[in-house]
Symmetry: C2
């Protein structure tokens, strides 16, 4: 278990931000770990943000540990013998609750940034 | 010297955020270290953010090291003998350049948060 840094309630943590994106992807369809990594990287690139693979995997493993997601191994179609991990939603209620929590934090952060722009540049 | 964490370009660092507020305060008037601490804390409280004194002082010391601010000791008015540190702008051009840099980052972060809200909640 990774020790969490003490929170001072500044901006949302990268871990929570990535968990949110992972959950939304898995809500839409079955999810192959490797596939979304590159999608996320490409999606954030115009914003100067490049999440590391290790950070995304840590977020994913926390969602498994928390019991929100589950994982199973399947043999890939067409492949002679190649197992891949596929993730799916295990607890929809907890998923919904987590996303609601993150939404409140994102809103709070947006307000804090807007305050900073107003306080220092007007 | 504190070793900086490797940046992945996620959200603005707390250190830069606090430096910005310190610079804006010192632009407005001569600045007494202890005075602004409580002002900042009160100002951010509605946003669930409580910066620690040690973090604010580290931000202040970096601004001194970078040569943007200077510090002198004065004897406080009315006091029999009580020295206090007063900070002032040493390099206005660098201050302006730093604030411009932080503005760009705040704008970027605001866009990233807005994207996350749109991508995951619509």
């Amino acid at each position: 278990m990774v020790r969490k840094r003490e929170s001072t309630g500044f901006l949302i943590k990268q871990r929570a931000f990535l968990k949110l994106y992972i959950l939304s992807s898995i809500e839409k369809e079955r999810w192959y770990g490797m596939q979304i990594l590159d999608e996320l990287k490409a999606s954030f690139k115009p914003y100067g943000y490049e999440p590391q693979h290790s950070e995304i995997y840590r977020a994913l493993h926390e969602l498994l540990e928390d019991g929100i997601l589950s994982r199973k191994k399947i043999v890939e179609e067409g492949a002679k013998y190649k197992e891949v991990a596929v993730y799916s939603v295990k607890n929809p209620d907890e998923l919904k609750a987590y996303k609601k929590l993150v939404k409140a934090d994102l809103d709070r952060c947006e307000q804090l940034l807007r305050k900073a722009i107003q306080d220092n540049y007007s």
